[in-house]
């Protein structure tokens, strides 16, 4: 322990001897760390935003459905209906951590306005309970639905464009009921919405749930959608629900198993961050090992003297490696502080982004600096400087004593 402290002191003194070079090395490491932190912070923000918009525009955190609804029920919704069980819904809403739980009825059919007829995918929703779950559905024209039974409809942006419908138009919705008969309902377009998924906006509409039930001649719902305080509660909540609800009657589906686009984007972008990490790591190793070699060469005489005094070669090696690691810690910490400041500054301004594939609108990105990123940054800095220091340190410890004492004279 004392040995380590004295080694550290010597390494620190050596570093402070050539302040300019130490500053350059530290800044190099810090620069690399800032770049890495920015890249992963950006990705972290994209992931979080995407998760939030997936959960709060379509999926909720947990969907309660009849078993196998998502494998087979989609094709045959009427055989997979949940009862209109208000008591159970009220009970679910009482559970700790549940923000809202609300029934939805999925249906589909044709919407027509004048000559135009377009197929849609509809959701019967209960506007009151739906509001917190649908926080990321932007209604940029008109207003939200008012009551469970109002003759109103919200259209997705693309669907409205295909129909040529504007707020205030009256459209007719046609659907096939369970018995195979045709059914129609006339409603007024009160709002037009968009989400981050263009594909969804191109086909989706939302109708108050009682109207939807009336149109489809059913009662009940295809799913109960639950929003929680945090996405981390999803799995515990599912376990809790499985504890008191009959699992042969209900299936609890977490949002992760429905968010295919989100999952694949996370895989793709995470591997891109890894590539950036490797490149930045290479830069740091290359430039730090260069500076360390230079520092070793400059101090040839000194190393010779130390060896001549009887220090072991391993001590010399340890000293130089330690110097490198100290540089890494210093640069890493500096990089984290700089990265944190920079991320705050950039987030305050925002990065204007064009619409990504599958999106209709551009968005403003930010940078999310998480503790995890700080830890990863610091370990990247220390690891790379350690690797960078090894070869120069080894060379220093192998010097021929006599030659190095006479070096440059």
């Amino acid at each position: 322990m004392r040995q380590l402290i004295s080694d550290l002191t010597i390494a620190t003194r050596n570093l402070s001897r050539n302040l300019r070079r130490t500053a350059v090395s530290t800044l190099t490491v810090a620069g690399g760390i800032v770049a890495f932190a920015m890249a992963s912070g950006f990705m972290a923000w994209v992931f979080e935003d995407m998760r939030d918009s997936t959960v709060r525009s379509q999926l909720g955190h947990v969907q309660i459905v009849r078993p196998h609804y998502f494998d087979k029920g989609i094709a045959d919704p009427y055989n997979y209906l949940l009862n209109a069980d208000e008591k159970m819904l009220a009970k679910l809403a009482e559970i700790d951590g549940v923000v809202s739980v609300t029934p939805r009825l999925a249906f589909s059919g044709l919407a027509s306005l004048g000559d135009a007829t377009v197929a849609f995918i509809g959701e019967g929703v209960s506007p009151q309970g739906e509001r917190p779950i649908s926080a990321r559905i932007n209604i940029d024209q008109g207003r939200d639905l008012q009551g469970d039974n109002a003759a109103e409809v919200l259209l997705g942006e693309g669907l409205a464009a295909n129909l040529g419908a504007k707020v205030g138009d009256r459209i007719v919705l046609l659907a096939t009921t369970e018995q195979g008969g045709a059914s129609a309902v006339e409603t007024e377009v009160v709002g037009i919405f968009n989400t981050t998924t263009k594909e969804f906006d191109d086909h989706a509409l939302r109708l108050p749930i009682e109207r939807a039930r009336h149109l489809m001649r059913v009662s009940g719902a295809t799913s109960w959608v639950m929003l929680l305080d945090s996405h981390t509660l999803t799995q515990p909540m599912i376990r809790q629900l499985q504890g008191f609800m009959a699992t042969d009657l209900y299936e609890f589906v977490p949002w992760t198993s429905l968010a295919d686009f989100y999952n694949k984007t996370v895989t793709l972008f995470s591997s891109q961050v890894q590539v950036v990490k490797v490149i930045i790591g290479l830069i740091i190793v290359l430039s730090i090992s260069n500076t360390q070699t230079m520092s070793v060469l400059e101090r040839t005489t000194e190393i010779g003297t130390v060896l001549a005094l009887g220090q072991k070669r391993s001590v010399v090696m340890r000293l130089f490696v330690l110097e490198g690691v100290l540089l890494g810690i210093l640069g890493g910490l500096l990089g984290i502080v700089m990265g944190w400041g920079l991320s705050l500054a950039i987030s305050a301004v925002g990065i204007p982004m064009p619409p990504a594939p599958g999106m209709a609108h551009g968005f403003t990105a930010k940078i999310l600096f998480t503790p995890g990123i700080a830890v990863e940054s610091l370990s990247l800095a220390v690891l790379t400087t350690l690797i960078a220091g090894l070869l120069p340190a080894y060379r220093a410890s192998r010097f021929n004593i006599v030659d190095s004492i006479r070096y440059n004279q």
């Binding site: 589909s108 044709l110 377009v118 197929a119 694949k264 830069i283 260069n290 004279q409």
Partner: protein, 411 residues
Amino acid sequence: MNSRFLENALFALRNIFRQRARAVANLLAIALGVAGLIVVGGFVQDIFVQLGEAIIHGQTGHVQISKEGFQRVGLRSPEKYLIEKPELIRSQLKAMPGTSAVLSRINFTGTLNNGRRDLGVLGEGIEADLESQLTGIYVRYTEGRALRDGDKYGMVIGQGVAKSLDLAPGDRVAMVVSLSEGAVNTLDFEVIGIFQTFSKDFDARAVRITLPDAGELFGTSAVHKIIMVLNETGQSSAAASAVRDLLQKDGMEVTLWHELSDFYTKTIDLYDRQFGVMRLIILMMVLLSVSNTINMTLFERTREFGTIMAIGSPPSAVFSQIILEGVLVGACGAVRGMALGVIAAWGISAIGIPMPPPPNANIGYTAYIRVAIDSVLIAGLIGWVATILASILPARRASRLSVVDALRHGL
């Protein structure tokens, strides 16, 4: 003059290779950077090419000819945008050089019913046999088989449609379409195959039937689109403008494949940005490590520069000497980098990089590295210029050394 320059260059070369290890490190940094640029650029290029081909062969063909306005709002009332006499246009297009096939399609929306629920679909009436030459490997049949011309009331459906309606080959479905003035027509079809393209969104809605069946559904012998398939994707723009000259006056609209795919445009945009950042990082790497190495070399040669200036050479001679070294090192490194990059690209392409399914797709694919001569040259040029830029600052510093201090350096 010439021999003077040659002499200088020879001198610079000797200086470069005097310190073997250092020269190798320097060349390696430049070469790695250049090779990195080539590989990264080739990887992105490959994504663009593969995505483009998947779109062309899976959905759009190279050039689409339709009535003015159909592409924008046509599906609202498709009966207004019919091309009545497609044969004339077809024969004209067929005669154009570089055309490999000309197809007609009818596009429509409707609902598909499996007896229990409806699903809104985007339908296409296609010339099945011709069409299967276009789709080739880009449309996979997970179950059943592709549509053929003789399949009366046969239908192939996208994977998502099959899942939503729980359909398998052999099942019967009812297709309901609305005609003009509110009339509705229904036809029963048999599912023949289930297909998968690069795009999940497309597969979730797409169904295809034969052109005669689609004509029967709408009571027409006309078509909505005439699609040109070319031998070379690169000729698309030229072909489109030739077709425009031929047809524009008749109220026809000519659309290129990439104008039809919103997804493609946005993907290109996204990747261009991301890999722009990546290129910047690689460039930084080259600049940093090269300037570092040069700095180090010059530091060691301080006494030498002092001596040169003490003998009477002006500082500008030292400056140009160092820059010349940078030019030569840069050129050597860039050439090596280009060779390394091309070899690496070929090597990687020979094996292929297995990629997971990208967002919005179900199928993973194999990525390759495309080598285009111009991008290789540009990468080399960037590496070369970066090296020269990296040597300017150290050269300036070396040329401004105080002669006396420099002579005594290291003593």
